[in-house]
């Protein structure tokens, strides 16, 4: 799908809209525009992008991104890739469920993994992780706990409940506490420096 063509059509329909082509995709500078743009592309007889194939997030360190792949089942064309960028600390994007029902679970998944809050989502809960889980696992700064190493808090809890703790585990925990570090698991297969 021709990005320049879509861009000029959208600028015609919504004067003053901020769009920027990124590779062969279209970036919306203002995340709030996504609903009206999606509705326009869905209804417009030129595009009829009635099918939201994929909705997902990505973490680019300075910002979070939400990527939409739109196709047309009617015209058998596509994809048109839209993206919005938001900051980590106020990651809020309007929900597309009112336009595409298929966004419902995919937005929940993106919230679960990246912490992007979708405004006006009918059921904004986590989907894979359990209730009360802290953190967003697919953000690049997420650190996974090492399940085999205990921390001082765990040892205190165990001792309070009268469960004996092996000496080496508590020694390791004390060492970690001295260093002021948490028990973090190593990532599988970090690239070796070349």
């Amino acid at each position: 799908m021709d990005i320049a063509d879509v861009k000029s059509k959208l600028e015609q329909a919504f004067p003053g809209i901020a769009l920027r082509p990124v590779r062969d995709t279209l970036l919306m500078e203002n995340a709030k525009d996504i609903v009206k743009i999606a509705q326009f592309l869905k209804d417009s007889p030129d595009y009829q992008l009635d099918y939201l194939s994929s909705l997902t997030g990505a973490d680019y360190l300075e910002y979070l991104e939400v990527v939409y792949h739109l196709y047309s089942m009617e015209k058998k064309t596509g994809p048109l890739v839209l993206r919005v960028r938001v900051k980590h600390d106020h990651a809020q994007v309007p929900s597309l469920v009112s336009v595409y029902r298929g966004a419902e679970y995919q937005e929940r998944e993106t919230y679960d993994m990246y912490g992007v809050v979708f405004e006006n989502h009918p059921d904004p809960r986590r989907i894979f992780m359990w209730e009360g889980f802290e953190g967003f696992p697919l953000r690049k700064d997420y650190q996974q706990e090492d399940s085999e190493t205990l921390e001082m808090e765990d040892i205190e809890w165990l001792e309070k409940h009268g469960i004996p703790v092996p000496q080496d585990l508590s020694a390791k925990a004390e060492e970690l506490k001295k260093l002021g570090r948490r028990a973090v698991a190593q990532k599988p297969g970090q690239p070796e420096p070349e």
Binding site: M73, R101, G102, F128, P137, P188
Partner: protein, 383 residues
């Protein structure tokens, strides 16, 4: 003196909340449905998933491109070949790799054999949910065994095939195996006729499946439903025809469509799709070149040293028509040996979006059948 009795002409009923799963044979894995029932009718249904969640995407973002290939097998463990296919397509788009002729044919043969396995088995399981306990499944599994034996011979594994490589396939198919595939293709219609004689006009099956879980086409499109479920609702959308990926433009086949979009249509569309797959297989087996390269020359050096494979900076979305629907992989490369972003668009996860809409107003037993007709695999739903 007149006596009055307080008699109400309506009866108060209470709703009842029940859980089905996660450990329940008819949820096809560790899947939970939180139902609210009024009598036996479903008032609300909330799926709960994530019991099998292992953050496939994060693991793949920390290992090299090639290392994720065996891991894609574990997504939809019934159709590992289609998962391999989608992932290879995405990487090939990203790094701009061509696939040699013979490898293309082998890929298509494998993908269509997978479709036969999946559709036969899922119809069997659907009948299990209907109460035809294990007879149809065993008929289907008898055929599945023959195909799975082929997979074992070409790839070394029955289910976790890990057979595709970027730009080709791992090993060649010997003439002996090709002859056996031809035999399977020749005999499969007999099995289908037998299967249909048992099921298609079966009165119990018709009564339980017709007009149950009707999915209107507008909702199906809007809810991003794909695969046989979408086509059972009468929407003509098959990625093999639309994208013409690989070499699907060379084959002559048709797309079966349903009329109503009920459970019965989903059953019958799958039967017809198997017949179309057989047509593709016949043509592919006729056309396949006798010899040829298996992996594109560009990719040969990376077979032994996969960490040297660094696709150029960019992004790609590769999708195939897997037996369950549109399976897509979204990859972002930053020029290092591992992907910066790796996302799986899992068809059975997204097809679950409308489970509640389909089940409301039906009985509990019908909800089980509707879930069976969606065809989910929890490895894929939970990533």
């Amino acid at each position: 003196m007149e006596k009055t009795f307080a008699v109400k002409d309506t009866m108060d009923t209470q709703t009842l909340e029940i859980n089905i799963g996660p450990q329940h044979p008819s949820t096809h894995g560790v899947f939970r449905m939180n139902m609210v029932l009024d009598g036996e009718q479903v008032v609300s249904l909330k799926p709960v998933m994530g019991y099998l969640h292992r953050n496939h995407e994060q693991i793949a973002e920390n290992i090299s491109y090639t290392s994720s290939m065996p891991y894609t097998d574990r997504l939809d463990y019934f159709n590992s070949m289609s998962n391999n296919f989608a992932y290879s397509l995405a990487v090939e788009k990203l790094a701009n790799i061509d696939v040699p002729e013979r490898a293309q044919y082998i890929r298509v043969i494998m993908a269509e054999l997978t479709r036969l396995v999946n559709h036969a088995a899922v119809i069997g399981f659907l009948l299990n949910d209907l109460g035809a306990f294990f007879t149809p499944v065993l008929y289907a599994f008898r055929e599945r065994e023959k195909i799975v034996d082929i997979f074992e011979e070409v790839s070394g594994s029955r289910m976790m095939c890990n057979y595709f490589r970027f730009g080709g396939v791992k090993l060649d198919m010997s003439p002996a195996i090709l002859t056996r595939v031809k035999e399977i293709v020749k005999n499969f219609p007999k099995f289908l006729d037998e299967f249909e004689a048992l099921l298609t006009r079966n009165e119990i099956l018709c009564m339980r499946c017709q007009n149950v879980g009707v999915l209107p086409p507008e909702l199906a499109v809007s809810a991003s439903i794909t695969g046989p479920m979408l086509r059972a609702s009468g929407v003509n959308y098959d990625i093999r025809k639309v994208d013409k990926y690989s070499i699907y433009d060379r084959f002559n086949f048709r797309i079966p469509l349903g009329l109503k979009g009920d459970v019965y249509d989903r059953y019958y569309v799958r039967i017809l799709e198997m017949r179309e797959s057989l047509k593709i297989l016949e043509q592919a087996l006729d056309q396949i070149p006798a010899t040829g390269e298996l992996v594109s020359k560009k990719m040969v050096p990376f077979l032994k040293a996969p960490r040297n494979f660094k696709p150029p900076v960019g992004e790609a979305y590769g999708r195939v028509e897997s037996p369950k629907g549109e399976l897509g992989f979204y990859l972002v490369s930053d020029g290092t040996p591992q992907p910066w972003r790796y996302h799986v668009r899992a068809p059975s996860f997204i097809n679950l979006t409308i489970l509640e809409d389909l089940c409301i107003g039906h009985k509990v037993a019908d909800a089980i059948v509707i879930l069976g007709s969606i065809d989910i695999v929890l490895g894929e739903v939970d990533h």
